[in-house]
């Protein structure tokens, strides 16, 4: 059995030690650092990517929040603008309304006064005109003076009544 030939042992042990130590040195110095660096790089890359994605996610959140804030601000601003415009428009409307009202009232007063004036004027003239008219009528139908006075009294009375009616 060749395994039991003790004469071959020194050579086998020697070359085993040489081979094993050589392989150990190659592995520990060259190969293992290379493989572990590749694997570590990959893990780092994955970690970095995860970190970067988290960062981007956070940034997006911040931007979203900002956007929401800006939107809210704009909405409130727009509301304010609308409200202030409403107010100013209302003010203007009421102002104009008041001005117009005043003008109208003034005009109305003026017109009323004029009407009153005209009315007085008419009432003043109505006596003379109606008397003249009755005179003329009486002349034409030639009624006696006595009766004339009676008619005048009736006309005056009627006139008074008319005047009262108008004044009322």
């Amino acid at each position: 059995m060749p395994q039991l030939e003790i004469a071959t042992y020194p050579s086998q042990i020697f070359w085993l030690v040489v081979s094993f130590v050589t392989l150990y040195l190659i592995m520990s110095r060259i190969i293992i650092p290379r493989i572990s660096s590749v694997i570590k790089n990959r893990e780092d890359e994955i970690k970095n990517n995860i970190y970067a994605s988290e960062k981007i996610y956070k940034e997006t959140k911040i931007i979203n929040d900002e956007l929401d804030k800006v939107r809210e601000d704009t909405e409130t601003e727009a509301r304010e603008i609308i409200n202030s415009l409403k107010e100013t428009t209302n003010k203007k409307i009421s102002q104009n309304y008041n001005v117009l009202k005043e003008k109208l009232e003034k005009k109305l007063q003026k017109n009323e006064q004029e009407i009153l004036k005209n009315k007085k004027k008419v009432l003043k003239e109505i006596n003379a005109i109606s008397l003249n008219l009755s005179d003329e009528i009486l002349k034409k139908i030639s009624i006696k003076n006595k009766k004339k006075n009676k008619i005048k009294l009736i006309i005056n009375k009627n006139l008074k009544e008319i005047k009262n009616d108008i004044n009322q």
């Binding site: 395994q3 071959t8 086998q12 085993l16 081979s19 094993f20 392989l23 190969i31 790089n41 990959r42």
Partner: protein, 240 residues
Amino acid sequence: MADPIYQFKIKELIPLEIFETNISYTNSSLFMSLSIILVSLLLLVSIKKKSLVPSRLQSVSEIFYEFIANMVSDNIGDKGHKFFPLIFTLFTFLLFGNMLGMLPYSFTFTSHIIVTFVLAMFVFLLVTLLGIFIHGFKFFGLFVPKGVPMVMLPLMIPIEIISYLSRPISLSVRLFANMMAGHTMLKIFAGFIVPLGIFGIAPLMVDVALTALEVLIAFLQAYVFTILTCLYLNEAINLH
């Protein structure tokens, strides 16, 4: 029929002698050299590109690396990190030695008891010295099993000591015997093929099947040797 033991014969290739000791470069030495050259080349070439997304070739080294890294971290823990290169070397050396032996007309250096014994003895001494170095006298508490009645201790302690001391023998014989038996069996069946003529197809089929089995065993024994080394190291470092 060829002698099935002849394949284990040590042949001197380059005669060499130092201090009146014969350390000739033999076929065994040649296959040790081939193993380390092949495994180094394979791993070096496959990790050459260092790409972020590994190619198939690069996956080879990464799978080797992660296989051993998991083995070390599962069995020894964080403190086993220092021994990772040693375990890695041990596994690749044995695996390639065993696998190269599967090639026809090749030589299997792990089928020699002296080789496996030296490796096992190295592991044994490393573990023992490490245990004493780390834990001092407490390391011998390893021989006192927990939860055993005091009466049993005089019986149990010698058994534990014997089983501890027989570790290098069991470790080396397991690997050597497996490799030698497998190769001998292959050779015996191969020796029947030609003499049997047309019926030689039967031992040929057996040989094909056995070759598959031997490839499995070549991997398995390298794995067993390595994982037992891990377990022993774990005992020495963490002292259950």
